[in-house]
């Protein structure tokens, strides 16, 4: 019985993943190489060329999505790291209050938050109308339906996923380690780059995973805040699946996106040294 215990413990989660992740994925993989339409049905033809076709047809949107994902992740790190370290090192007794504030936007619906940006950023809205009447920006300046708006929306919606893991990593840094660095004549900057930063990298890595992947696959922000030149691959998948009923193309796009992101993440993990990261995270 004792030997079986670990297997029994993994059974519910394992079954869950098998039924709701592995089975649909196998089904999707099968659909992606079928040909036909919803009316006459789809027939398995092992049409592997569809992967080349979708990549060629939607190359722009793939590159754009990855670009937006990278830009959004970079901005998130830049914004999240100072916030996380401030809460971790200077938060004092109110740490949990500050963390709650970080999470507070999640209590409002995702779509509603994004839509409310439209009102804030409208051409003659709260933000731009005063700037325009003050002559600080030109009359036809706008934010909505631009790349900046989409990346801004992505960052806004996923920022807490970057703050929390970095905070957790920094919170675990023993202040005495920093003291020791100073005792060894490290300047403030050296103590950060040689001690604090390396110790917090696992948090950054986890944050990147949790923001880059959903940002790249996101379609809500591009749909609400973007314009004709901001379509992301998520929007294409949505259209192919729901509007066109073209399940093979939608499935092939999803798998290609997954492959692109896995390759990206593995390359990133390799560059950063997975073992160090995972070991640090496991401590």
């Amino acid at each position: 019985m004792k030997r079986l215990a670990p297997y029994l413990l993994i059974l519910p989660g394992g079954l869950w993943l098998l039924i709701f992740l592995v089975v649909p994925m196998v089904f999707m993989a099968s659909v992606s190489t079928q040909e036909g339409d919803t009316l006459n049905g789809f027939v398995q033809t092992f049409n592997l060329s569809i992967y080349g076709d979708v990549l060629a047809q939607y190359r722009t949107q793939f590159l754009r999505s990855v670009g937006y994902g990278l830009a959004g992740t970079a901005v998130s790190i830049a914004l999240a790291y100072p916030v996380a370290s401030w809460i971790a090192f200077k938060g004092g007794a109110r740490k949990s209050t500050y963390l709650l504030l970080v999470l507070l936007p999640f209590f409002v619906s995702f779509v509603l938050r994004t839509v409310s940006w439209k009102f804030l950023l409208a051409d003659d809205g709260l933000l731009l109308a005063p700037l325009k009447s003050a002559g600080l920006v030109s009359g036809d300046f706008h934010v909505l339906q631009t790349t900046v708006a989409v990346i801004g929306g992505l960052v806004y919606n996923y920022l807490p996923f970057m703050i929390l893991p970095i905070y957790v990593a920094l919170e675990r840094v023993d202040p005495r380690v920093i003291e020791a660095a100073h005792d060894l004549y490290a300047s403030g900057r050296a103590a950060f780059t040689r001690v604090v930063l390396p110790l917090s990298l696992p948090g950054v890595f986890a944050g990147v995973l949790m923001t880059f992947v959903p940002m790249t696959a996101d379609y809500v922000n591009a749909g609400i805040l973007g314009g004709p030149e901001n379509t992301m691959i998520g929007n294409i998948i949505q259209t192919e699946y729901l509007v066109n009923g073209d399940y093979p193309t939608a499935s092939a796009l999803s798998f290609t996106l997954m492959a692109v992101m896995l390759i990206g993440i593995f390359a990133y993990a390799k560059a950063l040294g997975t073992e160090n990261v995972l070991e640090a995270a496991a401590r």
Binding site: Q34, L39, G41
Partner: protein
């Protein structure tokens, strides 16, 4: 255009009507189709047209249950606080309790939600729903997802529906659908920034660069692309689509189009993000009624007329109750309650006099608004306007593929 001489209609009428027993069973919901995943492929689900006696048998085998689940679009019915007066009247007259839900935001998403359920013969949670004529309604019809209605139980529809809304090209003889509301796609603009608009060419006017709104729906932009070329969408060919596609792409590449909108173009127009846009008549009427200074025109080259249709999904639990509602809303009194709230074109022409009668009884602001309504070409369009209106072309599955490949890349850069 006379719908009866339309080639698409003639095609539908001359198609074979023979049907196997399996189809009759499917209609009655008796075949346990399940997920049709024979072998490695997804089985074809194209439905043959139902046989007359199968329809009769279906209706004979169902009873009134006294409940009805109704899926509609937002802001598409009369509402008084949390109450729906027309549905309350329905309950009082028929004893059928209605659970009303604003479940439909757009056709593709709603169809995407219900399609797997209908394919597996499962209940979708609704007994009656409102779908716009177009790709998805045609798909639902071709897949046999909609119950053919029993016209002997629709006396009010027969008596009161406008001849123009009867026998549409997408559903010959109203075999499966009856209209809920009719609307027009034209051009709306803000007179503060835009001079008087009469032509679709104004959507291509470089003066409005970055301030033009177009619609995301491929059939909507396709029609406007064709109007700009002087092509009648009903008679259009693949070559016309490609030329219209080029025209629309040029508009987009010139940076004229701010965004390809769904329902949200109204907010963008009201906020001033866009100055001129493709628009649905009722939306603009409502904005004007709320005091916004906006104009709506049917361009001289043409506009699109579309119909939102009541229809019954094949897995409906209360089809008899659904059919009762489909007939009930064709009483002029009820149709008047609806049109006064919704501000689209009603399929019941007799409502005009009733709106005027209501106006005579009302006073002050309400009187003015009802009179405006009765006189509005957006709600009771003139013959001359109607002549310029065209439907969405009914596309075969093969045509649809080409059509989508031409028009979808325009909005999905």
């Amino acid at each position: 255009m006379d719908l009866r001489t339309n080639p698409a209609l003639l095609r539908g009428m001359t198609q074979s009507r023979s049907v196997s027993r399996r189809d009759a069973l499917r209609l009655a919901g008796l075949s346990a189709a399940g997920l049709a995943l024979a072998g490695c492929g997804v089985q074809g689900k194209k439905a043959a047209p139902p046989r007359k006696d199968a329809v009769a048998a279906y209706w004979a085998s169902h009873k009134k249950n006294g409940v009805l689940r109704f899926a509609n679009w937002p802001l598409y019915i009369d509402k008084d606080g949390k109450r729906y007066p027309s549905l309350e009247a329905f309950t009082a007259d028929t004893g059928i309790k209605v659970s009303y839900q604003e479940a439909i935001q757009d056709n593709p998403t709603f169809f995407g939600k219900i399609q797997p359920l209908l394919a597996a013969n499962n209940d979708i949670g609704f007994d009656v729903m409102v779908l716009t004529n177009g790709l998805h309604l045609t798909r639902a019809l071709n897949l046999g997802y909609l119950v053919p209605v029993d016209h002997s139980r629709l006396p009010n529809f027969a008596a009161n529906a406008a001849p123009k809304v009867k026998n549409p090209i997408w559903d010959p003889g109203n075999a499966h659908t009856v209209p809920w509301m009719v609307g027009v796609t034209g051009i709306a603009y803000n007179p503060k920034y835009v001079d008087e608009v009469t032509s679709v060419e104004d959507l291509w006017n470089p003066r409005y660069k970055g301030k033009v709104g177009m619609m995301l729906d491929t059939q909507e932009i396709a029609n406007f692309g064709m109007f700009a070329l002087g092509v009648d969408p009903d008679a259009s060919t693949e070559a016309d689509w490609r030329r219209a596609g080029e025209r629309l792409k040029a508009q987009r590449d010139a940076g004229l189009v701010r965004k390809y909108y769904e329902n949200d173009y109204v907010d963008a127009l009201a906020r001033g993000d866009i100055w001129i846009t493709m628009a649905w008549s009722g939306d603009i009427f409502q904005q004007v009624a709320e005091g916004k200074d906006l104009r709506f025109v049917i361009p001289r080259e043409g506009g699109t007329i579309w119909t939102d249709n009541l229809c019954i999904p094949k897995t409906a639990q209360n089809p008899v109750d659904a059919l009762a509602l489909m007939d009930y809303v064709y009483q002029p009194k009820i149709a008047t309650m609806l049109v006064e709230a919704v501000n689209y074109i009603t399929p019941v022409p007799a409502t005009k006099d009733l709106v005027l009668a209501d106006a005579a009884k009302a006073t002050g602001e309400e009187k003015a608004s009802l009179e405006r309504m009765a006189g509005s070409p957006l709600i009771f369009p003139a013959e001359s306007d109607m002549e310029r209106l065209r439907s969405f072309k009914v596309l075969s599955a093969a045509e649809e593929k080409v059509f989508e490949s031409v028009f979808q890349p325009i909005s999905q850069g």
